[in-house]
């Protein structure tokens, strides 16, 4: 299971990194989403990879998993979801204003 989790994080990060280096807004957004998925799994794994153990007190429990990363990952999911939504809206706005979804600035927009 460790191998599965680790390779999932690695593959998703690689794919995400490749995509955010593209020149168009759409692949960049998909890439950012992939990286944030990888990041969420990574945070989850920071409390050690265990199966079938409860995070909160239970009379029948034989052991516990760390509940803290679950709280952290929940916050991270909410934030990255909101941020991605903002980015989508911004990219749409830029697309309608400029007529294309290239991420680089054109000649007169440079400083």
């Amino acid at each position: 299971m460790e191998l599965l989790v680790a390779s999932a994080v690695g593959v998703m990060t690689t794919v995400g990194l490749y995509l955010i280096l593209r020149l168009r807004a759409f692949p960049v957004i998909v890439g950012l989403t992939m990286i944030s998925y990888a990041c969420n799994v990574f945070i989850f794994a920071s409390g050690r990879v265990v199966a079938g153990l409860p995070p909160i007190l239970s009379k029948t429990a034989t052991g516990y998993t760390d509940p803290m990363p679950q709280a952290l990952v929940l916050t991270a999911i909410v934030i990255s979801f909101g941020m991605t939504a903002v980015l989508v809206m911004l990219a749409l706005g830029a697309f309608f204003e400029a007529g294309d979804d290239r991420v680089d600035l054109d000649e007169e927009g440079r400083e």
Binding site: C39, M83, A94, D106, E111
Partner: protein, 503 residues
């Protein structure tokens, strides 16, 4: 006892932002009054906190009264109080400018976003929990996304997409770093980390070093350190003038985080990490200064020029921070105060020019502008401050930094600081002569533009702040030396967290 006042700089803008958004969204004059009053009140609270932190030492606010490593804490010490006060002063002045020039009428929800921005910045300065620092970073970023594209336009939106995408990658990296730290130590409370890291098992040292580098990269993105500075010039050049001026404090959030984390959690005497971060930070800072200076020379537009002076000043600041000695930290803090005000003043002056000139180009002369004499005088003062020439505080700040960076790398640091300052002086004087002197050659009468006294008063207030910082350099640097001593001996900070005690 400061007690509940510690959380006021977070709660007040949060409540006022929501109130402005929900109740005052269609009545701009009322929104202006409420929002300005809230920022003025924030300044008053910040000064109260500054007084308290000076006289009563670090104090911790336990959210929900949960004891320290388990609950979230806000920590008020001299550094956080200082940064909150700086933010509040800057926000108040720049907000008056935005009202005076009518920038807040060019889009919706300016004042609500402004308050949320202040909430994020103040929260980032006050929090004593690394994950909470991430959350406040996101709060300030999401408000800054809205402010950055305020007023709209093709280039601004495109630059906005770049800015958001870049910072989202930074946020993800922040999470990776925090998760790595948590997996090794099992805590994210900064004081708890500072207490636990010295006893770290040998085998975990590599992981913690890696996590520290990841956090350093995140703060370098915020603080616009080369090679992670690429978002800054386009963002600052395309954002509305007053927003760029407020963003002058956002780069200082990065510098603040570096000072806080790398004096408290990863000090240079920690065996697992040693001087690793100082060794990474110093070359990056020196290259940042050089890149900023080249950018100042090569800028084709006024806002781009000012954006690159901001890059240079961040390089200078980080060169002092990278020493990690009390003397250098005190010099860095003085320079941080100065460069925030100077960069904000220059952004406002660039906006004054842009509002009156046909375009912002620096390659061709344009006809003279309305109120030319006054704008030119302000530009001169702002340029003197930003370049670090006497008599303003930039000179004193750079002098303190030069004095504090004696040692092995001294020739390199001095050469870079002095060389880049020289190039910035050339770039700014060339821009000033093209903007104001050569305009007379065009032989056209200036296009009339309303005088907008409030805008000039606000810009003048920033210059006055710089003069004040110069005149009070003695007491301020004494106070900052005590602050730096407190930072480099964090025993009081850690003790204030009452780790592991019930209460």
């Amino acid at each position: 006892m400061i007690g509940h006042w510690i959380i006021a700089p977070v709660v007040l803008p949060a409540v006022m932002g929501a109130f402005t958004l929900l109740v005052l969204r269609n009545t701009l004059p009322v929104a202006r009054v409420f929002s300005t009053a809230a920022t003025a009140l924030l300044l008053a609270i910040a000064l109260r906190l500054l007084w308290g932190a000076t006289h009563e030492g670090p104090e911790v606010y336990f959210l929900g009264n949960w004891p320290a490593p388990f609950g979230i804490v806000l920590v008020l010490d001299r550094l956080s109080a200082l940064m909150v006060a700086l933010t509040a002063f800057l926000a108040l002045v720049v907000q008056l400018y935005a009202i005076g020039t009518g920038w807040d009428t060019r889009g919706r929800h300016f004042h609500a976003l402004w308050q949320f921005q202040l909430m994020g910045v103040c929260g980032a300065f006050l929090t004593g929990d690394a994950f909470n620092l991430f959350v406040f970073f996101e709060v300030l970023l999401i408000a800054s996304y809205g402010l950055m594209i305020h007023g709209g336009g093709k280039d601004r939106l495109k630059a906005g997409v770049q800015y958001v995408a870049y910072n989202l990658v930074g946020s993800t990296l922040f999470l990776f770093g925090l998760a790595t730290i948590y997996s090794v130590t099992g805590t994210l409370n900064m004081a708890d980390l500072a207490a636990k890291l010295p006893g770290l098992p040998e085998g975990d040292a590599a992981l913690i070093r890696l996590a520290g580098v990841m956090l350093l990269m995140v703060f370098a993105i915020k603080g616009a350190l080369v090679p992670l500075h690429v978002w800054l010039p386009a963002t600052y050049a395309q954002a509305p003038g007053p927003v760029s001026a407020l963003f002058a404090v956002m780069t200082k959030v990065g510098a603040y985080a570096v000072i806080r984390i790398y004096t408290l959690v990863f000090p240079t005497d920690l065996p697992a990490t040693g001087t690793l971060y100082a060794d990474l930070l110093l070359p990056a800072a020196l290259v940042t200064m050089a890149v900023g200076a080249v950018g100042v020379m090569g800028a084709r537009k006024v806002q781009g020029l000012v954006a690159f002076t901001a890059v240079t000043s961040m390089g200078t600041l980080f060169a002092a921070v990278a020493q990690f000695t009390p003397g250098a930290t005190a010099a860095a803090l003085y320079y941080a105060l100065h460069s925030t005000l100077a960069a904000a003043a220059l952004f406002l002056i660039a906006d004054l020019v842009m509002a009156r000139r046909i375009d912002g180009t620096l390659t061709e002369a344009r006809p003279a502008i309305a109120q030319q004499g006054l704008v030119a005088g302000l530009f001169m003062a702002g340029a003197i401050a930003a370049a670090g020439m006497p008599p303003l505080s930039g000179f004193l700040g750079k002098l303190m930094i030069l004095d504090a960076t004696r040692g092995l790398a001294q020739p390199l640091i001095w050469a870079t600081i002095l060389g880049s300052s020289f190039v910035v002086i050339i770039g700014l004087s060339r821009a000033g002569s093209l903007l104001f002197w050569k305009s007379h050659a065009a032989q056209a009468t200036p296009v009339p533009h309303p005088a907008q006294p409030l805008a000039f008063v606000a810009t003048g207030a920033l210059i006055a702040g710089l003069v004040g910082l110069t005149l009070a350099a003695g007491p301020v640097s004494t106070w900052l030396a005590e602050t730096a001593a407190e930072l480099h001996d964090p025993a009081a900070y850690i003790a204030a967290n009452k780790l592991g005690e019930e209460h």
